[in-house]
């Protein structure tokens, strides 16, 4: 199950930059002709670094995130995740890599409604074939302060609690990179602040690389670096 990158994908192995984008572009066809959503973006993010991606709505932030995480394929350019060229992997290959090395937090939580909080957190461990899923999940849930809520279903939890379950799920596999797309976007200010707090706290203690898309200036300010995006380009 684990992905052993082939030598060829190691071409420019640079273990200092855990995530690297080279001339990344994404075009889609629309009724008005070809539309460039991400336009020739190159960047490099070091291990343990936290980077905020800010910019107006529609700037292409989510699209860039999807490309970096291997959820989508670029029209041109390439993405190196810990030295592995994502564009050379097929869909299943990228999925396996995500299972091992990547965590996600989304704006709309994306918990599986049919599973309890604990089971939702166990899910990525089980997908990666880890043995002690239940114990690890319970521990992580305790760390986000939901020790008493393990048996609850998502619909029995408040928005803030749901997002904390999602954060636990993202960190439980100890990913190399954590991608968060507007994690506080669906929460009120106070709850959002607390969730942001938690995110940085866990990030610091786990030495995870954080790529955070956000509107929230305060949240962006807590990152080591902020990339401003405008009309598909990094300003």
């Amino acid at each position: 199950m684990s992905s052993n990158p082939t030598p060829s994908t190691h071409a420019q192995a640079n273990f200092d930059s855990v995530l690297k984008a080279e001339n990344l572009s994404k075009q889609v066809s629309s009724p008005e002709g070809a539309l460039t959503i991400v336009d020739d973006v190159s960047l490099s993010i070091a291990r343990g670094e936290s980077v905020a991606v800010a910019g107006p709505s529609g700037a292409g932030k989510s699209t860039l995130l999807a490309l970096l995480a291997g959820l989508d394929t670029p029209t041109s350019g390439r993405v190196l995740l810990e030295g592995t060229d994502l564009t050379r992997l097929d869909e299943d290959g990228r999925a396996r890599l995500r299972a091992e090395r990547v965590g996600f937090v989304f704006q709309s939580f994306h918990l599986i409604p049919a599973l309890t909080a604990l089971e939702n957190v166990m899910l990525p461990l089980e997908l990666a074939g880890r043995a002690d899923a239940r114990r690890a999940a319970a521990e992580t849930l305790a760390r986000v302060g939901l020790k008493d809520r393990t048996g609850h279903y998502p619909r029995q939890l408040s928005g803030g609690e749901q997002q904390r379950v999602a954060i636990a799920r993202a960190f439980v596999t100890a990913p190399a990179v954590l991608f968060a797309d507007e994690p506080t976007g669906n929460l009120d200010t106070a709850t959002g602040a607390r969730v942001g707090e938690l995110l940085f706290e866990l990030n610091a203690s786990a030495h995870t690389t954080l790529v955070l898309v956000t509107h929230d200036r305060e949240l962006a300010a807590r990152c080591a670096r902020t990339l401003r995006m405008e009309a598909g380009r990094i300003a």
């Binding site: 989508d72 299943d92 997908l127």
Partner: protein, 830 residues
Amino acid sequence: MKAVRLALRLLSREWRSGELGVLLLALTVAVAALTGVGFLVGRISAAVALEASSVLAADIRLGSTRPIAEAYFAEAERRGLKSARTSSTLSVVFNGDASQLTNLVAVTAGYPLRGRLLTAVEPFAPGTPVQGIPGPGEVWPASKLLAAVGGKVGTELSIGAATLRVTRVLISRPDQGGTFAELAPSLIMNAADLPATQLVQPGSRVSYAGLFAGERPAIEDFKAWLTDHKQPGERLRDITDASPQVRNAVERAGRFLSLASLVSVLLCAIAVAMAARRYVHRHLDTVALLKTLGATRGFTLAVAVLQLLALALIAALVGAALGFLAQEWLLRTIRGLLAVTELPPPSAMPFAVGLVTAIAVLAGFALPPLIQLQRVPALRVLRRDVGPPPPIVLLAFGPAVLVVLLLIWWVVRDRHLFLYLGAGLAAFLAILAFAGSALVLLAGRLRGRVGVAWRYGVANLSRRRAESVVQLVAFGTGIMVLLLLGIIRDDLNSDWRRTLPPNLPNYFFINIPPAERDDFIHFVEALGARTTRVLPMIRGRLTAINGRPIEEGRRGGRGEEEGFATREQNLTWTTELGPDNRIVAGHWWTEADAGKPLVSLATEFQESLGLRLGDHLTFDIGGETIETTVASIRKVKWDTFRPNFFIEFAPGVLEHVAGTYMTSAYFTPGTARTLAELAHRFPSVSIFDIDELLNQVRAVLDKAALAVQSVFVFTLLAGLTVLLAAVQSSRDERRYESAMLRTLGARRSTVVQGVLAEFLTLGTLSGLIAAAGASLAAYYLTTRWLELRYTFELVPCIVGIAGGALLVASGGWLATRSVVNQPPLRTLRA
């Protein structure tokens, strides 16, 4: 392993959260319908077959000109079957000086294994059923025989070297046959007395028969065994070559019942297809998330398939149990009407068939959506509007089409019919889909002109474009097959009512000498009865086909061929085509053909010998060889009980040959005296009382009609439930938006009206197309498959349209009611 665990966990969680209720309901109802109809069809047709097999006095009958070997009976015994023997021979029976050529039937205990013997204490009296057979030293002669020799109960008859006493008068026996091969009246005696008569000598013509009866599967097995082990001269008969009247009824009922099974399968397919769509709809997000978290495509597919499989298993078990209970209840309720003391036991077959069909349908209808489901890109977690790529048409519809075609083939087993049905169904679906798209388009145009409720409802139709078309196809197909079944049931029933009117000819008269023909007709009229047509009857043998001689006792042919070719044939000649005959090939002769050696064959005869128009048949008629040409083929309605012949000659060919006449007539019950008078006045005329045969046919028809009726009602109920379940499955799509609307300030009634408007439109249109489709299909099936008369009825169409609208609207309303009644906040938060 991982996939199994996750699949089961998701399943149990979704189950607890009530997510799967609707899906499971649809599947369970579908399986219940399928197995219930299967059980019902199996058991009722067993009851009908049981009734029908009385014409053989057994389930299977092995006939031969030599004694039937003991080994067969031992084998039957070993298999737990009942058996009996009969031996019959022609001999002259004496009462003093009076004599009559008689068909002696010596029987062993147990005869008849099916059907019943009717006897009386005087000739031509109404018979009553009797248990057992004549004791040693006793005989039961037929009315005609006793009248001819002037005897009564107590008379001692000389039969060969023995003297036996008359203890009852035989009115009818179940296996007397409707083809009148045996002209002489019969007499039943105990087989133990046969040696004493010394009639069975080397060279004497005796027909022996072994009778066997038992439960269906055991009989089928034994039949297969007999077919393998029987000697060349031995002829095997079962219900399939029973009297044509009974066979027709049983076949048609069987066809209707298979059609009902097919309908239940199609309904099952609709349920599964709708359920699978819903499943896919609800799991797009989950699959996208699983992929994001690192699940491969194979894994997500495995999870989905395992989930559905587990669900199918539960549905199959619960559904089969429900189906069984439902038909058991139904059968118990109508047991009195079925007039059977014990119901045929259910076999495990319908359960297995139900299970296999359910899985096949699931594979055909659910697998493609599931494969489609796992193609949803992980990107959906970031962009809600990203769905799976458009399906590959062949992959999406191929398996479903294949499964439906296989199932249709399985039921009809007829190449032409299969092609027509397949093409018809395809055309119907295309029309439905087209009409759906048209409706959606029209609905879009209409929006501006109607009230807010209608606008909302109709707007929904055009907004959920694909969904609307799918629903239209599903409802339309469901209503269509149910209507079709209803129409065909009506045609079948009215045909059966036409078939056996109360005053059908119940006596056949054979061997009327030409000189007495007119006297006879007048005499019958004087007795207050009327003869049907009077036809000459000439005995002859078919000796060659296209110049190739047929050997006596020809071996290795198909059973019937052997029989037809070696049996003496009854031939006739006639100018006019009987009203119960229809030419299916060639031409009936005109005046110009008189004197030409032309023959017209009944389809049964033509098919069993594989004959064609223009073939040359050579007959030996009273020592004269006559070369003939097949000029036409006739489809004969045997159940009119008028004289009919397999082989009819053109006029001007056989007139010079010595022959007799035959006819039939209806005598009201209780005319024993007048018939005795007739027998006395025309001693050479053979009289056949076919009242009991008519009763047999009536009983078969009654059971068949009941079967058709009850299976229809059962299928209808099952179908309605399936369709309701299908409507239910669209529930949660409405949940969100009706909450939305109410939040925006719409009154509850407005939302409800909107939903009603949407479903009413959908239902009416489905019903309309379904009614048209059903009428067309019914016309085709009735005339081509069941070979009945088709009458167009407006009522089913109206029922289809109104029923469709009502059904879909009420289903939709029921499904949405709880949603609409919920406080909007709860729905929006969920």
